[in-house]
Symmetry: none
DNA sequence: CCACAATTGCAGCAATTCCTGCAAAACCAT
DNA sequence: ATGGTTTTGCAGGAATTGCTGCAATTGTGG
């Protein structure tokens, strides 16, 4: 816990006693430990302009058992930085222990970051294209992913698309997919542990020649193997429940992008909807906020 | 640029040709490269449960010159993630091409952060209590919030609770809520622009003397006024679509906490479910991972 | 300028990590 | 089952990386 601080503090504490060459190493570490964490003693030495031995002795001076020990500490520091929200680190004694809520929200933040990192804007755009021009859209999603499927379906419908969420229900997925045609788009949403019905349904659709998009958690998911286009959203689960924030966010982005693509149509049909919503009092009227323009600084 | 994609793409390309042991390595790398990047071949092998040799051969199969080469690639990937994220953090929305996806995911990260700051662990715990001891639970959620309601309902059901998601459907919310009793718990989920049906239904339940919990976006939301307990999840919308990542994450945390509260019961009923799942082949079997314990340090 | 101390780099040795031949085990299709 | 193929782990040698004695260098105060 205080491990990462240790490194910085050790350097600070001993900095005065260090020799010139060692000071330059210390300097480099403070500025670039995210690079240094991966270097061998020799490489680090060359980079800083000192010999390998000096680097080793530097580690010893700081009180480490050897260079590998120092290196490990840098790596821990790095890992910590990756997974922890800086805000939490800074906020003082406010939180006694990282409560469960915090752990889970933090985990979802990590998933979102990672998703952001791995998502390919090109693929994303092409998916938006596909959704835009597809005459019919089928969305496969079972169990927990069904909620995601419904969400996507609902918004695409709002945007004037012909959409059908296809869960296993009264009729099997296959039956519901018999009407799929080659121009149609099938979006499969599935995360570990992938439900077999979803995989089979998706496979069936692919074999029938439909265009296929997978929203899943990794390139090696069974859906990704079958799909024309794959969008990755991370969903590391560290409990028995899926962490679906990232997939949901991705789906939100998808729907938004589709909306942007056909701005005119969408605005028109939204205006129309507003009227309906108003007439039928769909929304609560105590706190009506009205339409909000995309703001954000 | 394409360096980091290379690793993923290589894995995807060769994944089919890999053996079982190698697949589990691939799996581990995709989920945990931030840890794997620091490990030696031997350590990685031990962690995944295969021999060092298999790890080395895995690297070769992917086309790398050896394990160090593969390792270097993971490190590059990691470094990239670090720098990208910090860049994104520092200048939100100021990127050269701030793609829509990034904007939206980033916005959701912001929502999660603010939710994390504003959530009260005490209230959260009390809500968990309430859920735990309630004989029946009703979850009100309409339109987009319906997905959230379904999600929560599904998991609570999995945990052995008597739950009913109450959307406007064949019968009105009121009709569905006539059976509510004073010991029962009603959870209302609603975000701007609050659907009137949800507010009215929630109000009705409150007047009937049920215990009430609101999951909503602010203390001044109509639901919060009526509820015994209120959980705040931020959902700043910067488009016509709600950003529901934070509420979803909060709900995930809720369900997890409830699960933890009754660990024994839950584990027992999960074991039972595992059997059922297995017998009926609910999950896809190519990539079966089995039950994973909550790990993380 | 000299003597002495501290620091540095080299070179070779020690330790770790990685690679590969080989036999046992697992798998698979008869 | 059975024979053949593939996969796996082990063991030991190869390569890399880290450590340290020693001599050269630098720096310093007299």
């Amino acid at each position: 816990m205080t491990v990462s601080e240790d490194l910085l503090q050790r350097i600070k504490a001993k900095y005065g006693d260090l020799s010139t060459a060692q000071k330059s190493i210390a300097q480099y570490l403070l500025d670039n430990y995210e690079k240094a964490a991966f270097l061998t003693a020799g490489q680090l030495g060359t980079l800083v302009g000192v010999s390998e031995s000096t680097v080793v002795r530097f580690a010893n001076t700081l009180g480490y058992g050897g260079y590998p020990h120092l290196q490990k500490e840098m790596q821990e520091h790095l890992k910590r930085e990756l997974t922890t929200v800086s805000r939490l680190q800074q906020s003082p004694g406010k939180l006694k222990g990282p409560s469960l809520v915090h752990q889970i929200l933090e985990n979802d933040i990590k998933n979102l970051r990672r998703t952001m990192e791995e998502i390919s804007p090109e693929v994303f755009d092409r998916v938006v294209e596909e959704i835009g021009k597809a005459p019919n859209i089928f969305i496969i999603g079972n169990r927990s992913a069904h909620c995601l499927a419904l969400f996507l379906a609902m918004y695409l419908e709002l945007l004037g698309k012909r959409v059908k969420a296809v869960p296993t229900g009264v009729t099997s997925i296959f039956e519901q997919l018999t009407i799929v045609q080659t121009e149609d788009l099938v979006i499969g949403i599935s995360f570990p542990r992938y439900t077999s019905k979803s995989v089979e349904g998706f496979e069936y659709a692919a074999r029938r020649g439909a265009r296929t998009v997978a929203i899943t958690d990794s390139v090696i998911s069974p859906l990704a193997q079958l799909a024309d286009l794959t969008l990755i959203a991370k969903s590391d689960l560290n409990s028995f429940i899926e962490a679906f924030a990232a997939p949901l966010s991705l789906i939100t982005a998808l729907a938004t992008a589709v909306g942007m693509r056909e701005r005119e149509n969408v605005l028109r049909s939204l205006e129309h909807l507003e009227e309906i919503w108003d007439n039928y009092r769909i929304f609560y009227h105590g706190l009506e906020r009205g339409w909000q323009e995309p703001i954000e600084k």
